[in-house]
């Protein structure tokens, strides 16, 4: 059995209780903090040594982000947990909440302590209402137990978590847009500087961390940075990772595996291999805003650095698998319909560029394609990088990789004036 860290209390069809979490060592780190074992700087140092990288998609070192809160920064400071999980194919945050909510709660308290925050917001997408209800209940339990609120466990540290149901937009997952949404504004991203860690919510230092990142913290502090690093299968990696596997495999789902587990092993051993009659054609290795990854890279180690070395991104580690019978033009069109809709509309390349790509793809998929659309698509997927935030570049990744790896398939659509995968009418 592989080491299960975040999922160590996973039960079939049931949520781990606070007592179960405590029995597994939960809230022990918080007790240590209350006793004065760690200073905020100690926490930053240990998490830094553990090499924990953000699990939201960008992979930014968590401790480095915390430490960018200025020493003399204003108070109160805020923490925001980003559970606006809307990356297509990704459902790990929801799993975490449904498996072991208290690991998240303790993680948030630890992160809050590390940055001397007094208040945290749990920003959750509205379609996760059942998850939100679980959290509301469990937050109240934690409050009753003295883990949250004024003077936690008798210490002079006070901290509370407010659950905030988001309006439900993909862009709200972008950290600065999330902050705008929390402040009751339109969720447009904001351009640093100033960084949120300097001036975030209501101009106070604010750290935004992904839910999975936060869930790692109790375990790192309980077991030490060396143990954490040792969990990984790659040299530069650290810890485990939740992989969400979907598509044409036998056992889709969410599994916790050491970071750096090769893709082939994930698909064959942990997802039950390809479905009968299906052959691997490509996958999106880290959500919809990553490039298509083709057969020749099946042995890649699923870690930040290993993927980036071959021109791909780990993203949210949501692997969506397509087989030889799937039309990738259709898939890409579907994705672009999503991205074009979810653009906030602030900047021109994203607001108008994504519909432009969408409309070109629609014509190709529906038999109205023309040869000159291919260079136009190629140019546009490059030029939308000139956008305000990372949404448009992410949205361009499947388009660009479609044209790189599957140009023939696109040309076939144009030549036949129809989708070659469609069944004859």
């Amino acid at each position: 059995m592989l080491p299960q860290v975040l999922f160590q209390n996973r039960k079939p069809r049931r949520i781990a209780t606070m007592e179960e979490y405590c029995r597994s060592g939960g809230y022990r780190v918080l007790e240590d903090i209350a006793r004065g074992k760690y200073s905020p700087a100690d926490i930053c140092r240990i998490v830094g040594e553990a090499g924990l990288r953000g699990r939201g998609g960008a992979g930014f070192p968590a401790a480095t982000k915390w430490m960018s809160v200025p020493v003399d920064g204003a108070y109160p400071r805020y923490l925001a947990a980003n559970a606006d999980e809307m990356e297509p194919g990704t459902f790990k945050d929801r799993m975490l909440i449904h498996v072991d909510p208290h690991t998240l709660i303790e993680g948030m308290i630890i992160a809050g302590y590390a940055i001397s925050a007094s208040k945290a917001f749990f920003f959750i997408r509205p379609s996760y209402d059942s998850s939100a209800m679980i959290l509301e209940r469990e937050l109240e339990r934690a409050r009753q137990a003295g883990y949250l609120g004024d003077n936690i466990l008798g210490s002079d540290y006070s901290f509370d978590i407010i659950l905030h149901r988001s309006g439900g937009r993909y862009i709200c997952g972008e950290a600065t847009a999330l902050l705008n949404a929390l402040m009751g504004k339109r969720p447009n991203p904001m351009k640093p500087p100033p960084y949120p860690t300097v001036k975030g919510l209501w101009n106070r230092p604010t750290v935004v961390n992904n839910v999975e990142t936060l869930a790692n913290l109790p375990h790192i502090l309980r077991n030490g940075p060396e143990w954490y690093k040792g969990l990984a299968r790659t040299k530069t990696g650290a810890g485990t990772k939740l992989f969400c596997i979907s598509g044409k495999v036998n056992r889709p789902g969410c599994v916790e595996l050491p970071i750096g587990t090769p893709l082939r092993e994930i698909l064959e051993e942990h997802a039950g291999g390809m479905r009968a009659g299906s052959e691997f054609k490509a996958c999106l290795p880290g959500g919809a805003s990553t490039r298509y990854l083709t057969k020749d890279l099946l042995d890649v180690e699923m870690d930040f650095d290993s993927l980036s070395a071959v021109g791909h991104r780990l993203g949210t580690a949501a692997i969506t698998v397509f087989d030889q019978k799937t039309c990738l033009v259709g898939v890409t069109l579907n994705l672009l319909q999503f991205f074009a809709r979810e653009s906030c509309g602030w900047c021109t390349p994203c607001r108008e560029g994504l519909p432009y790509i969408r409309d070109l793809l629609w014509r190709i998929e529906n038999g109205e394609g023309r040869e000159e659309y291919i260079p136009m698509l190629r140019q546009m997927s490059r030029d939308v990088w000139n956008a305000y935030c990372a949404l448009a570049p992410g949205a361009a990744s499947p388009v660009e990789s479609l044209l790189t790896f599957f140009e023939d398939e696109v040309r076939e659509h144009i030549r036949l004036k129809k989708c070659p995968f469609s069944r004859p009418r």
Binding site: I171, A340, S343, G345, T348, P349, E352, L354, D383, N386
Partner: protein, 900 residues
């Protein structure tokens, strides 16, 4: 720190900038063109259009120059093949979605998108995407919004939220479905829009255009004439756009130096259609047998000269009186003052400043030595606290209102509002004190009581720069917060909080208007305001001051020009022989009268009693503006001879024996002096209609007929004479004024003008505290007249409405008198919104529709005075402040009846 010089390399050339500037700002300052669309220098950077992208060494990607801070040693390239290609993509995208057809667009030739498309050599649109057209909003008569031409640059949204701080519009929906809309998607007409047109001015394309200007001239056919607005005292600089001798529209340019930096209000931008209104007077009129007939200038002037001569001969020069005008230029006011004094030989000259800020001039002159706004409009942004009282600033001085709201929005400044009405600024205030009308001296004393008791006042300043503190201390000792609460209704804790906040500010400014001045103790209230400001050391510093906001375009100038019964230009007293001698010499006469003349209200009284027999009214309308109109009408009808010189046949002109047609501000040269003492140019854009003449030409012609030669080739020649006899204007000339106006005092040609007065030393030496007791209003409420009546103005109308009521847009917004009454009172009287009500006072009655709401407090009625058919001044009381002779417009007792 902010001024630290940094050096950058842009396109291989070394350029300098200041720390804190963005890369774009440095490029612009150095004349390097970077294409932009969403950037506007008045607004915070947006970074949305992605056209101003540049390449910067050691920076990834293509950073937009508008959001990238410039740093020392940065190496920037603004034009490469790659940059041009990516910019071209952006433009192509804008053309792919939207309906940009220049042939069908009002803005063609004045469109930033059109210019950029040309600059980037785009010949065809390769692809048109799926575009869902938006409906056009042309529901109102002023602004057309055509979203199909919108590029979603967000400039209109920021103009509304960041510049004017109104926040009426925002972006709705998302992605390419985004569009600009109002709250609850109402049309602009039904929204909270105040039609300042800042959005139209900021729109780079044809998405927002002027409705009235459609098809009346292409941008390149319009001649733009920069001039000064003719409405309130802010003195906004605007551009009259002229084609075929017609003003087609009014635009603004933030690059024209002035108090408004390109901002205007609804009146300035959309209220100038009175200029070519068919009702304009085009020829002199002479009344015979109760009917007007057209006359030549020669005949009209002969008639006036003859009558004036005979009345002077029979009854002496003081049987003649002159009402000058806060609406006319300095040159014209100066000339009328000269005419009254040198040609006729009387000091009977006054103007409507008497009715608005006479108490300011009297009060501040005794406290400080000078009766004008101490600081500047722009200086409000340096204030830590702004106290606004008796001024509905966002409606009466909208551009100053926005300046205050911006200061508050910046987070630096806190706002205290003391007003009996729930005005717009209340929403932006830290503290709002709602006093009963007529209790200003009480709460001001109360604030000082708290500040002295808690020793929050500026002791060093009080010791070194003022006198009379002990008397003040004694006087305010009795005004405990409890007592003040009893008098004014202001909760004592709120008063204490406001006092502490005001006193805690390093620099605090007080802005007030007629809510303070139009009372029988108006001068006392002004002195109390001065007391408070001096007590906390706020006079003679940046960001501080006592700032009376003047209501009319040139009310400051008309006062400066000596159109007051007691002073010559620059407030030189007529009772001082040396001064008289100086002016007699300058004007080439043997002597000038030394007795103080009659004020406006006194003139009307004297006319009624037969002491004043002839009256010359230049651009005023006392038949609507003055208190107790029955009495005014009696007075004017008792006159032997009335001359009115105006642009329309006003209610007053209808009573005249001779009416002279005048040129309006757009038809003449001259200067106006705004509320912050800034003398600015007025420039001719169109010819006057028919035989109408600038007022100064009429006065000069009349003087010459009466044997006193006034030979001025142009307005500039008059201004030269003004500067020669007016020490505070001595350093000015038209050339200097062309560069953005000058704030007096400006004593020499080298003097840069004065941003704030009383620096280091008060004009009178030491600032003088006055010990002042509160007195109740002249007419208290009783069983018969149970409500307090207070009068004022509204955003969409101006003064007696002669101009604004002839403007299409303004009347769409507010076309008839609405009597404001509190919801509770209305319920008791069974009055519903827009029911007709009758107001009755001891002097008269009027009828109008009711506006039921929370704007006024229970027990108080507010009536705007613009409407002659529902004339508020039939109700008001001519009780006068004994010092300034200003009437108590702001309080009298009234009864409200529902009209069946």
């Amino acid at each position: 720190m902010e001024n630290e010089i940094i050096t950058l390399t842009v396109n291989g050339k070394s350029v300098q900038g200041r720390k804190g500037q963005t890369v774009l700002e440095v490029c612009r300052a150095n004349g390097i063109h970077v294409p932009t669309l969403c950037y506007h220098p008045k607004m915070p950077p947006y970074g949305g259009c992605r056209l101003c992208i540049v390449e910067i060494q050691n920076m990834r990607g293509l950073p937009p120059s508008c959001t990238t801070p410039a740093t020392d040693g940065m190496e920037v390239t603004t034009h490469t093949d790659r940059l041009m290609r990516v910019r071209k993509t952006v433009l192509e995208l804008l053309l792919a979605y939207g309906d940009h057809n220049c042939l069908l667009c009002e803005q063609t030739g004045n469109c930033e998108l059109q210019d950029l498309v040309y600059e980037h050599g785009i010949e065809k649109v390769r692809f048109k995407g799926e575009f869902k057209p938006h409906p056009k909003d042309d529901s109102n008569t002023m602004i057309v919004r055509d979203q199909n031409k919108c590029v979603l640059c967000g400039r209109c949204v920021r103009a509304c939220l960041e510049v004017q701080v109104n926040g009426v519009i925002d972006v709705a929906a998302r992605g390419s479905d985004s569009y600009i809309t109002t709250f609850n998607h109402q049309s602009l007409k039904d929204s909270t829009c105040v039609f300042c047109g800042e959005c139209v001015a900021s729109c780079p394309t044809g998405a927002l255009t002027y409705k009235q200007a459609r098809f009346r001239g292409r941008p390149w056919e319009l001649k733009k004439v920069a001039t000064t607005c003719t409405y309130c005292g802010v003195g906004c600089q605007l551009e009259l756009n002229v084609k075929d001798n017609k003003v087609v529209k009014v635009t603004s340019d933030h690059e024209i130096p002035g108090p408004n930096q390109g901002s205007l209000c609804v009146k300035g931008r959309f209220g100038n259609d009175f200029i070519d209104h068919p009702d304009r007077l085009t020829t002199p009129l002479i009344k015979e047998n109760g009917e007007f007939r057209q006359a030549s200038w020669e005949e009209a002037l002969d008639r006036i000269a003859g009558r004036f001569e005979s009345i002077r001969k029979e009854s002496g020069p003081d049987a003649l009186a002159f009402f000058s005008s806060a609406r006319c230029t300095n040159e014209e006011n100066y000339l009328l003052n000269k005419f009254a004094r040198a040609v006729i030989g009387t000091n009977n000259i006054d103007h409507c400043a008497r009715l608005c800020h006479a108490s300011t001039v009297a009060g501040l002159a005794t406290s400080f030595g000078s009766g004008a706004m101490t600081n500047s409009i722009d200086d409000l942004k340096n204030s830590d606290v702004i106290l606004v009282t008796g001024s509905n600033t966002t409606e009466m001085h909208p551009v100053i209102g926005s300046t205050i709201k911006r200061a508050v929005k910046s987070g630096r400044c806190k706002l205290i509002v003391v007003d009996s009405r729930k005005i717009d600024l209340v929403d932006h205030a830290e503290i709002w004190l709602r006093q009963k009308p007529g209790t200003d001296v009480a709460w001001l004393n109360g604030m000082m009581h708290v500040i002295i008791k808690e020793e929050l006042y500026d002791k060093k300043y009080v010791d070194e720069r003022t006198e009379g503190f002990e008397e003040l201390k004694k006087a305010v000792a009795a005004y405990t917060p409890e007592k003040v609460e009893e008098i004014s209704g202001i909760p004592k804790d709120d008063l204490i909080a406001a006092a502490r906040l005001y006193a805690s500010a390093p620099a605090a400014s007080i802005a007030y208007a007629m809510g303070i001045t139009q009372h029988i103790n108006g001068t006392d209230a002004v002195k109390s305001v001065a007391n408070l400001a001096m007590l906390c050391g706020n006079i003679g510093i940046e960001g501080g001051g006592v700032n009376p906001l003047r209501g009319q375009n040139n009310v400051q100038g008309a006062c400066d020009m000596g159109c007051l019964p007691n002073v010559f230009p620059a407030y030189q007293s007529v009772t001082i022989p040396d001064v008289r001698e100086k002016f007699a010499k300058a004007w080439g006469v043997d002597s000038l009268p030394g007795n103080v003349g009659l004020t406006i209200v006194e003139t009307i009284d004297a006319a009624g009693k037969g002491k004043v027999k002839a009256l010359y009214v230049m651009g005023e309308n006392p038949m609507v503006s003055d208190p107790d109109l029955h009495h005014v009408e009696e007075g004017l009808k008792s006159l032997d001879f009335l001359v009115v010189q105006d642009i329309f046949l006003t209610e007053t002109a209808q009573l005249a024996d001779v009416v002279l047609p005048a040129a309006c501000f757009a038809e003449k040269e001259g200067t106006f002096t705004n509320t912050e003492r800034r003398v600015q140019r007025v420039r001719k854009a169109v010819d006057p209609p028919g035989k109408a003449l600038p007022d100064w030409q009429a006065i000069a012609a009349l003087a010459s007929r009466m044997g006193y030669e006034m030979n001025y080739p142009d307005a500039e020649a008059i201004f030269k004479e003004i500067c020669a006899v007016t020490p505070s204007y001595a350093g000015m000339d038209y050339q200097r004024l062309d560069a953005g106006g000058l704030q007096w005092p400006c004593p020499t040609k080298e003097h840069p003008g004065t941003k704030y007065l009383h620096k280091d030393k008060f004009v009178r030496g030491k600032g003088l505290f006055h010990a002042i007791e509160w007195i109740p209003p002249a007419e208290p409420v009783d069983d018969q007249y149970p409500f307090l009546l207070t009068t004022g103005r509204v955003l969409y109308q101006y003064h007696t409405g002669t101009m604004t009521r002839r403007s299409v847009g303004l009347n769409e917004r507010y076309s008839e008198c609405l009597v404001e009454i509190n919801t509770e009172d209305a319920a008791r009287l069974n009055i519903k919104d827009l029911d007709r009500v009758k107001l009755v006072t001891r002097r008269g009655q009027m009828e109008a529709k009711a506006r039921v709401g929370e704007m006024t407090e229970e027990g108080t009625i507010f009536v705007p005075f613009h409407f002659s058919e529902a004339a508020a001044n039939k109700l008001t009381l001519a009780a006068l402040d004994p010092q300034a002779k200003i009437p108590e417009y702001k309080v009298c007792a009234v009864r409200v009846e529902k009209v069946a």
